[in-house]
Point group: C2
Chain length 201, copies 2
């Protein structure tokens, strides 16, 4: 069965994250067995994706309009900027409905071993945002919503240093036991962080 279009599609789909050759094959057969209009619409959406989605000039998130709906929403609190590593982190935080300020996408984390230094991240643009606010709209707090990993810690530390000359409070998301977690199955580092970050009840 050397159906070329089929093999090409399997090869393309297996480049997606979390998709191997087997699951790509399952997808293609599922599409072939199904309504042709599904493949047509999915194909058109994909082919047009990069045309319709761009990066927001302010926060760096993916958007159809520039500035993005969040940055142009007058109801959002512009005095708090939540700094995230990637645009998808922004979506996860939005879905939690916990945060009502604005965002800033760094575009990565400092990782010297992978050759990613502060210069590769949009730190300069973040600092520009601090200076370029209208009176009464000053940024008061920067929340670092970076993963609690070595790279996240390094980047948080660097941003803390860079931002210490600005009249802005820098905070970081709490790290500790996940809700529903079990002490027995918690690693030593997480346990240690949850001790250091213990709160009065």
């Amino acid at each position: 069965m050397s159906a070329n279009a089929l093999d090409r599609l399997v090869a393309l789909l297996s480049k997606l994250p979390g998709v191997g050759k087997k699951s790509a094959g399952r997808m293609v057969y599922h599409i072939l067995d199904g309504d042709p209009s599904y493949a047509q619409i999915l194909g058109e959406e994909l082919a047009g994706l990069h045309k319709s989605i761009r990066r927001c000039g302010i926060c760096g998130g993916f958007t159809e309009t520039d500035p993005c709906p969040i940055c142009s929403d007058a109801g959002r609190d512009r005095s708090i900027i939540c700094v995230v590593e990637r645009a998808q982190d922004l979506r996860i935080i939005e879905e939690s409905r916990e945060f009502h300020g604005v965002f800033h996408v760094l575009g990565g984390l400092i990782a010297p071993l992978e050759g990613i230094g502060p210069g590769n991240l949009s730190i300069g643009r973040l600092i520009n945002r601090l200076g370029r606010t209208d009176p009464g709209q000053e940024v008061k707090e920067i929340i670092l919503a970076l993963n609690p990993t070595v790279e996240g810690d390094t980047t948080a530390l660097y941003l803390q240093k860079v931002l210490k000359d600005f009249p802005v409070t820098v905070t970081r998301l709490a790290s500790g036991l996940p809700v529903g977690g079990d002490l027995e199955y918690t690693d030593r580092l997480t346990l240690s962080r949850s001790f250091r970050g213990r709160v009065k009840v």
Copy 2:
């Protein structure tokens, strides 16, 4: 972040087998972060899939040409037909390079509870293939490569009855312990089959 093209694509991708909303989101961000030509090519392949792939008029497998490369390959042994449930099973068997005959795709298995009877499967076309062979090209064996499930067993039994009036040997793939498996973790039914199907060493 109400980027509509993005949300539409996540909704479309999460209809694929094994893809949830979260993994669909990861895929879309992966595509957005990547080379725009990837999304373009993937989109075009998908949109054109149903145009370039059809079903083979002989075996029922997916193909770009009709008859498919297997059915039109003079090097394949036309005296053995391997009967499979779905076109993807054909691909799996081809990849094992174990079988050098031709195929027949049933298009499903008999499942009365789901309303699938023998009339919904391409059994009539299989029987037609037995009669319509050139001299010296008679079908001698039909291998039922159906899953060892209730539906697979029912369908195999039905085909056995239907085919018993034809001068053809009907066989079924051996069922038993998987290679590398462990007796301790083998279910009772599989163990029972591997006893009944035991072979002399």
